[in-house]
Symmetry: C2
Subunit: 342 residues, 2 copies
DNA sequence: TTGTAAGCGTTATCAA
DNA sequence: TTGATAACGCTTACAA
């Protein structure tokens, strides 16, 4: 009960495997009539092409490695969805790995992808990733790497990132215009490029408005709703702040909960802007103002960039593409002056 | 600049490829000293094993196909995460595909997976899937298939499902105990097993309480927040219902929005229970009562089941494993009588 | 313990 | 337009 191969088809028709191969892979150098017979027989014998053999022989693989910190994060799963949408029609399958935010795991994943001889890698770093030799190794082995979101210039190849700086800037500028002044910033590790840039946007907006930067209002490690909740609760109680710019929507939800429990009205006494436009942002009350990152667009761009590198086998381009973000002003920050949009 | 192969290593050491192969794959039939030399040389030449060649030769593959309707759904991405957690340590990689809820796409995906000679498939049907020959074909080709969540008994092999009936039953029973009587049911297509079972649980709870079933309170196609919102709005206005059991949390959010806009208090005048325990369920106001499905557990069980079939190469088992669900009673349904839990 | 040799299923090159 | 043949890199009887 072995599987049907092109040899079986060839034998059944009294021709050679080469012809069958040509016919099945759409070569023009084959008689239309024989092609018909071959296709028919293939159907009849339930022939399934063997990509493993094909890959070995051709020396290339139609599989792309995708490496993300966690697949079950809204943002990443959407990026992956978009990548698939581009790459599948182009004839590629995705080998997906998660680093679980661990560097060791990330190294292992790269290794697995290389062993599997993927045609390319699209990836976003773990938060722990501070050295890049494992990724550079892939590039050295002629496996093109496209980085997205969390990226490093140390790694050759295209990068696709969100306008994080601009997002932070717009969010905080908007808060200032809405007459909030003591604006706290909740964020993740500032060693990660995305958080660092949002933070810089925050700083720039303050500076532009002539508001002195106060280090004591910036809180790293407040990116989850739990951690955010605890700190926000204390801050609100002590009445030190009148607004929060959170580098993530979950973080913002922590603030929202804390405010609710303290009986502080949003946006009345407290302004709040998140980041990411998670699906719930528009569903909670008050509806959460946030910076929308276009995961779909980002995945699309990353996949397209990789496709270009693969197909042109061109010299490595080091350009960084930027995906625009959008400030969505909703209820949680809409006090007086500013006009509501969206 | 070709890649290093075991032949290169063999040549460099004046031994044969077979020995190198044995050493590198951990066979005991090789001298400890030669093994050392081989490993050292492999390191030195930056040898990367070629899984493609290995798979072809061995006739089996360490890749598992995972096919889900959409990777960017909270539930599915968590299941995939759990599957990976089991299969990666076991030495398998995941080839992930999405059907995008389309049957044609699902058929294509199965085809790709078979072409890639995956060792097994873990899948959940698209909503359109009403015939199963493409899946049965995989089983016939000796590729074990494990179905989860959306499953069919037509396909041989293990199935892992949530306690959907029980979830629906518990949710509605709880609403009834909280003194709600006119309970509407918002759900997806009842041709999909998960929705059908939740619906049956709903019916059973009503029956048990002696409340007559009213067909006009059941709404298929109200599983998104948008569709749900529209219908809920009308229902609330017409004062025909005093509670909603939604087969999904997004659906419940639509109800919540509608109620808010109508100035109807939840849980005071309207009870609401969702399904899935999406991350936002605990963050919205009022906090949403819902039925928690254990995606993690489900993924774990599915992966373990597949592993067993693969490793034992055993006869196909047709058992259906059930993952318990939990009713999380939160604010949106906590009126008088019932005691709050969780 | 190591070597020999064949073969996994496909494709590319060359010749007919 | 088709056929013959070798090769992709690895594993595995079998022999030494």
């Amino acid at each position: 009960m072995k599987r049907t191969t092109i040899i079986d088809i060839a034998n059944a028709l009294g021709i050679t495997p080469s012809t069958v191969s040509r016919a099945l892979s759409g070569s023009p150098r084959v008689n239309e009539e024989t092609r018909k017979r071959i296709e028919q027989k293939a159907e009849e014998l339930h022939y399934q092409p063997n990509m493993v053999a094909s890959s070995l022989r051709k020396g290339r693989n139609d599989t792309i490695g995708v490496l993300v910190p966690r697949i079950n994060r809204h943002f990443f799963s959407h990026v992956v969805g978009a990548i698939e949408e581009v790459l599948n029609p182009a004839g590629f399958s995705l080998l997906i790995c998660q680093s679980h935010e661990r560097l060791v795991k990330e190294v292992q994943c790269i290794d697995v992808l290389l062993k599997n001889r993927v045609a390319g890698i699209i990836m976003s770093h773990s938060v722990e990733t501070i050295r890049f030799d494992h990724i550079i190794k892939a590039v050295n082995e002629k496996v093109p790497v496209v980085q997205f979101d969390r990226v490093s210039k140390m790694v050759p190849g295209p990068r696709v990132v969100n306008e994080n700086f601009n997002g932070g800037y717009m969010a905080v500028k908007h808060l200032i215009r809405s007459n909030y002044r003591r604006i706290a910033h909740f964020t993740g590790s500032l060693r990660v490029n995305v958080y660092d840039e949002r933070f810089k946007g925050y700083c720039y907006a303050l500076e532009e408005a002539g508001i002195p930067f106060d280090e004591s209002l910036v809180f790293e490690g407040t990116i989850t709703s739990e951690t955010s909740y605890a700190i926000a609760f204390a801050l609100i109680k002590s009445q030190q702040v009148d607004a929060f710019f959170c580098a993530g929507d979950y973080s913002a939800m922590g603030v929202l909960q804390a405010a609710r429990e303290c009986g502080i009205s949003i946006p009345g006494r407290l302004g709040l802007v998140g980041f990411a436009n998670e699906p719930f942002a528009d569903l909670v009350s008050p509806r959460l103002s946030t910076v929308e990152q276009n995961a779909y667009d980002l995945g699309h761009k990353a996949a397209t960039a990789l496709l270009q590198v693969i197909q042109q086998d061109s010299s490595i381009v080091n350009d960084e593409e930027t995906v625009p973000v959008r400030l969505l002003v909703r209820e949680s920050s809409s006090r007086n002056s500013e006009v509501k949009m969206e």
